[in-house]
Amino acid sequence: MRARVLIRPKAGILDPQGVAVQRALPALGFDGVENVHIGRLIELDVEDPNQLRPMCEKLLANPLVEDYEIILD
């Protein structure tokens, strides 16, 4: 089945990419934007969805500094 893993920087860790994008938007005419964070999307076909959590813990994310969210399609 198809799965998506969203990986986000943990709250509280400085996210300079998110800050940079947040700063750039008003200059392009987009106001009122806050709380921008940049993460990663991993898409994969898996036979056994139970493997997804250990995959995230071991390789796909670094749990020290990242949170992950598994979405099954």
Binding site: I13, L14, P16, Q17, N62, V65
Partner: protein, 232 residues
């Protein structure tokens, strides 16, 4: 004294590390696919872009057969030095606490830096003698060149490693371009046999090309530590 320098697909500074280590002892390359560490007394995990920094820097290299052997070697007390990408690999492998994140200035930055030596009683800094002191501070001039070098650990971990004296090098005031917490440039593990730093000591071993020979002291420290263990 035998150094083993790991080589992953995408390693760049392994050649430089080999050259630097070769000034202090014998040095040879260890292919990522080999489990055999060839009798090395100390391992160097070099700088570069192993596996293209895919997914996260060091995330894939940590699972290589050679690294499996290095993890075992470290657990048995063997000396392991991680430089830049090597530091990232050691953190991913959980041989060192914390993680390296994107530079606060968001750019790859290459600069000759001043580093404060926090302690000289480690296997990696014991040769940083008082004659490298300036204005009362023990300093090393070593270049750094990276885009992902911001040292991070959560508050609890930070307190623990500071308390246990695991911080070995800090960026001197004004030198911290990547935003590392507590200006941490290099940390060791609790046991003291594994050490990682973002700057590149292998690029400060010759006046002609480095402008500084301070980096050599780190390799000399390792030799001295190995010799001391051999005598004990």
């Amino acid at each position: 004294m035998k150094f083993g320098v790991l080589q992953f697909p995408g390693s760049c500074d392994e050649v430089d590390a080999l050259h630097a280590a070769g000034k202090v002892g014998e040095a040879q390359l260890i292919w990522h696919g080999d489990r055999d560490l060839k009798g090395a007394d100390a391992i160097v995990v070099p700088g570069g872009f192993s596996y293209g920094d895919y997914l996260r820097a060091g995330a894939i290299a940590r699972f290589s057969p050679a690294m499996e052997s290095v993890i075992e070697f470290a657990h048995e007390g063997g000396l392991v030095l991680g430089i830049c990408n090597g530091f990232q690999v050691l953190c991913e492998a959980r041989l060192l606490p914390g993680a390296l994140l994107a530079n606060a200035n968001l750019r790859f930055t290459s600069r000759l830096l001043e580093l404060d030596v926090v302690r000289t009683d480690t296997a990696f800094t014991r040769a940083c003698a008082p004659d490298s002191a300036q204005a009362g501070r023990l300093m090393l001039r070593i270049p750094a060149k990276h885009a992902w070098g911001r040292y991070y650990a959560d508050a609890e971990t930070l307190a623990a490693i500071e308390g246990a004296g695991q911080v070995v090098l800090r960026y001197a005031p004004g030198q911290n371009f990547n935003g590392s917490l507590h200006d941490i440039a290099g940390v060791r593990n609790e046991h003291g046999n594994v050490f990682g730093l973002m700057p590149h000591p292998e690029h400060a071993v010759e006046e002609l090309t480095g402008g500084s020979c301070d980096g050599l002291r780190i390799f000399e420290s390792m030799r001295s530590a190995v010799e001391a263990t051999a005598l004990a």
